[in-house]
């Protein structure tokens, strides 16, 4: 229903080197999607293939029920009606903000054009900077100009290539929420590419974690964090460590700190350890799964600590020798080397077959 964009098993290679392999995704109208992954995972290539700047060597890309890319056909980028916000913004330095925003409005009448520019400038809050040149703007303002310019022609789909990577961290956090509001307000469909998960969580409705040219999991931020589909996603999203565990029975796993109850999501395959009692598994323990409790009999040694304002992230050595993270309110300030009491407090289980 209402599918706007569909990638069907696309493949892309630069010469001999395959960058994207058998990648599929669907995006509904009005959704903000995100491709999240470490650098070199192929996410930008996917974006550029959607935009039409890169040809694909297998599969198909559909937009609005029409094929726009296939190995034998590539609709020119200018005919796709897809907007793009570039990583370096690619603002036109010889044009004012107004000129930049109006640049793509070459097929509309003069009055409508002026109106649309005014609307867009208002949307991004640059009404008073309309006559300035890009070099007179701050990084955040340039970013907004790039967004307004791309949105002005009302593209069917907006692509954002690492749009906040040139901004400092505090501005990044603020602007990503702002951009989400603007996109939702314009009822735009968009795909964002980033390596920063907080950015992805702040903007996107659905996120695809990419690794080695493939989407490992396409899901909401909540599910990526709490129900990672595989080890890579578990590792890449959020913080946490794997501790050894043993399957006791259906929905029961024992680790050093106690027994975890909860559905063990898994897909059975060869050498699957998850579906049988006594199977050796690795259990993902997030920092919020371990609670500091002075009364607890279980003691762990503080090995490292990172002060984060409200919390302190402790790296602990458990009595059995394995390592775990614990997020503790920062007034519980313990020196390195001290033994502190901890307690397991997890309501679900993320486990994978033990890697030999």
């Amino acid at each position: 229903m209402n599918t706007l964009l569909e990638l069907k098993n696309i493949r892309h290679a630069y010469g001999q080197q395959t960058v994207v392999e058998d990648l599929s995704l669907t995006l509904r109208k009005g959704t903000i999607g995100c491709l999240l992954g470490p650098s070199g995972c192929g996410k930008t290539t996917v974006l550029r293939s959607i935009a039409g700047f890169e040809p694909i060597s297998a599969g198909e890309i559909w937009l609005n029920g029409v094929v726009i890319s296939s190995p034998s056909f590539c609709l020119p980028p200018e005919q796709r009606h897809i907007g793009m916000v570039f990583q370096d913004y690619a603002l036109f330095p010889h044009l004012t903000v107004r000129g930049n925003v109006g640049f793509g409005l070459h097929r509309v009448g003069k009055a409508e054009r002026a109106q649309r520019i005014t609307d867009m400038l208002q949307t991004v809050g640059l009404t008073h900077d309309a006559e300035k040149y890009p070099h007179q703007l701050s990084g955040g303002q340039q970013q907004r100009v790039a967004l307004a310019r791309a949105l002005a022609p009302r593209p069917d789909l907006l692509l954002l290539d690492e749009p906040f990577s040139n901004l400092d961290v505090t501005l990044r956090a603020r602007l990503s929420l702002e951009v989400r509001d603007i996109l939702k307000n314009q009822n735009a469909t968009a795909i964002l590419v980033t390596h920063d998960q907080e950015e992805a969580f702040a903007i996107a409705d659905e996120i695809g974690v990419m690794h080695q040219g493939q989407i490992q999991q396409w899901d909401t931020a909540y599910n990526l964090y709490h129900k990672p589909a595989n080890r890579f996603v578990a590792d890449f999203i959020g913080e946490g460590v794997f501790v050894p565990g043993k399957i006791l029975g259906p929905n029961q796993v024992e680790i050093e700190l106690g027994v975890l109850q909860g559905e063990v999501a898994h897909r059975c395959g060869p050498e699957c350890q998850l579906c049988r009692s006594g199977g050796s598994v690795d259990v993902l323990i997030r920092p919020d799964d371990i609670v500091h409790d002075d009364a607890s009999p279980v003691r762990a040694v503080v090995m490292q600590k990172a002060f984060r304002g409200a919390d302190i992230l402790y790296t602990l050595r458990l009595p059995g020798g394995s390592t775990a993270l614990s997020l503790v309110p920062s007034h519980h300030n313990h020196p390195i080397g001290e033994k502190i009491g901890i307690r397991l407090e997890a309501d679900h289980v993320v486990a994978f077959s033990r890697q030999v």
Partner: protein
């Protein structure tokens, strides 16, 4: 009073960093004295540049002499027309050729692109007047090309274009000067990157429209800058038009001075030319200010638009045709000629020309670089309005045609000479004769004026790499004065000074009008030899000196190419 002393002390602290605390007043006085010294240097040099300009401009208002009257009646209209068509033709031609070659080598891909992108700079090594006399030697009525065609076709070749005409000069100058436009436009296209085109495409423009609506306007300041450089070279050119006997202001100045022996008429002609040049400078300065806005950010990866089929081959043909006509053909022909006359021409006289050229170039390079260094330091220490203005004035000499400078410097020198010998006669009853005229000193002042900008710019940009924090860090290690200069500044500036020196060296070697008009009698250089031989149509005799100039000219081009390929 107190406040001004405080400021002086502060500047003493930053200047010498010797803060012994011995005497408040002595250190502040010393600071004021050195600061005055640093301020005087640029002002002095600026005055040196302004004297010839003032001399020439003032002759605009001088009473018309007989010779001037004669010139106005007979040749002035022709000079203006010739200059106008030449300027127009060369501007359009260099813009068209330079921009298209720049675009295809920077943004597209075609067979041989990597080779052409640097090879197309090679013509910069050949002085325009050398291309000119080779072209005449080859394509003139008695040249081998027409002779062979006549024999082959059994026809009188009435359709063959007159090589000596206006079109011939224009074509030769386009071939000689297009690299200026090519270099700057290519730089602009490279820094825009393909990203700009992609942005245009994502906004619904195809590539052709993207180029016309975006890339071209974005590169406009650079293109215009390149065309202005070509235009100034055209207006300043003496050798090429002399070879073609195509009269412009520069040759007219020479003829008025050395043919009709009227320095005043020469000066009046120079004044008309200087007005034209000033108009160009003003336009150029405005274009330059546009470059500031167009910030350039190197995009990470330039993936070029692959061209194939007839497009690719026609562009490869354009590039190789240009390279052939502007470099390969002249160099080959010169080599053949030079090889033919080598046995007879490589003699004591040739070595004398060579020695004069080398000596003059080396001394001029050392002088201009030394002055440029002083100016750069002066501007760094006192970045105020007066120093800034003085630096700008001092570096405007590059725009002044050599013929104009020669006249503008010779007149005050001659006047000073007369004053000096009169004084010597009156005070000491001594016939001193002419002291300054016809000495190397006059020439060197003219070279300094003309080429200071050439050495100033590389040294200045090298100096920009020494940030204030570097100076502070050096001071933090306890290094001051000479030690800091030797161990930090000089190593950083070394590259810039070397570039500057080699550029000036080659420019002086190629320089024709100043050398011709202000040299000591009989003191001939390679360029003068080329002028004398070509004015008699002795192309072969000019070949050996020309080959020498081309070889020397390749030196800075190699640096340029290294930069361009980065």
């Amino acid at each position: 009073m107190k406040a001004s002393n405080g400021e002086a002390l502060q500047s003493a602290g930053t200047d010498s960093n010797v803060n012994t605390g011995s005497s408040f007043y002595s250190s502040s006085i010393r600071a004021v004295r050195t600061s005055v010294g640093w301020r005087l240097i640029p002002v002095f040099i600026a005055t040196l540049v302004l004297i010839p300009v003032g001399t020439v401009v003032s002759s605009l208002f001088a009473p018309a002499g007989d010779v001037w009257q004669h010139l106005v009646e007979t040749t002035l209209a022709e000079l203006v027309a010739n200059t106008f068509w030449l300027a127009l033709g060369v501007s359009l031609g260099t813009a068209l050729l330079g921009v298209s070659l720049a675009w295809f080598t920077a943004v597209c891909d075609f067979p041989g692109r990597g080779f052409f992108s640097w090879a197309l700079l090679l013509p910069l090594a050949i002085p325009a007047y050398v291309i000119a006399f080779v072209a005449l030697g080859l394509f003139d009525y008695v040249g081998p090309v027409q002779t062979a065609l006549r024999a082959w076709l059994q026809s009188d070749l009435a359709w063959f274009p007159n090589v000596r005409g206006r079109l011939g000069v224009i074509v030769v100058m386009i071939l000689a000067f297009y690299p200026y436009v090519y270099l700057l436009a290519r730089n602009a296209f490279l820094t825009q990157g393909k990203r700009t085109l992609e942005a245009a495409q994502s906004l619904g423009f195809d590539r052709t429209h993207g180029f016309v609506k975006l890339s071209l306007p974005m590169a406009r300041p650079w293109i215009a800058g390149g065309v202005m450089l070509a235009l100034m070279e055209t207006l300043a050119d003496f050798g090429t038009v002399a070879v073609f006997n195509y009269d412009t202001f520069t040759t007219a100045i020479y003829k008025a001075w050395f043919g009709m022996f009227s320095l005043s008429a020469a000066s009046q002609l120079a004044s008309v030319l200087i007005v034209i040049v000033f108009v160009v400078i003003i336009v150029e300065q405005r274009m330059r200010s546009g470059m500031r806005y167009a910030e350039s950010r190197q995009s990470a990866r330039i993936d070029r638009i692959p061209l194939s089929g007839w497009r690719a081959w026609s562009i490869a043909a354009l590039a190789s045709g240009t390279l052939f006509l502007a470099f390969i053909l002249p160099v080959s022909q010169l080599s053949i000629w030079a090889a033919g006359v080598f046995a007879s021409d490589f003699d004591q006289r040739y070595l004398e020309f060579l020695w004069h050229s080398l000596l003059l170039s080396a001394v001029a390079a050392a002088l201009t670089c030394g002055v440029a260094l002083l100016m750069v330091y002066a501007a760094r220490r006192h970045p105020d309005r007066i120093t800034g203005a003085a630096v700008r004035i001092s570096t405007i000499g590059y725009a002044l045609p050599g013929a104009v400078l020669a006249v503008g410097i010779f007149i005050p020198v001659a006047w000073l000479d007369n004053q000096l010998s009169e004084m010597a006669l009156r005070l000491f009853d001594f016939h001193s004769g002419l002291i300054l005229q016809g000495t190397l000193l006059t020439m060197l002042i003219a070279y300094l004026t003309r080429f200071l900008a050439v050495s100033y710019n590389p040294i200045d940009s090298a100096m920009h790499r020494i940030t204030p924090s570097i100076d502070e860090a050096v001071r933090g290690f306890g290094l001051t004065g000479w030690a800091a200069l030797r161990r930090v500044h000089l190593p950083i500036l070394k590259g810039g000074i070397f570039t500057a020196a080699s550029l000036v060296f080659v420019d002086v070697m190629k320089e024709m009008p100043i050398t011709l008009m202000t040299r000591p009698f009989g003191w001939d250089t390679l360029a003068v030899r080329i002028f004398e031989m070509t004015s008699e149509g002795e192309w072969e005799q000019a070949a050996l000196p020309a080959v020498t100039l081309v070889l020397a000219g390749l030196l800075p081009i190699i640096f340029l190419m290294r930069q361009a390929e980065k």
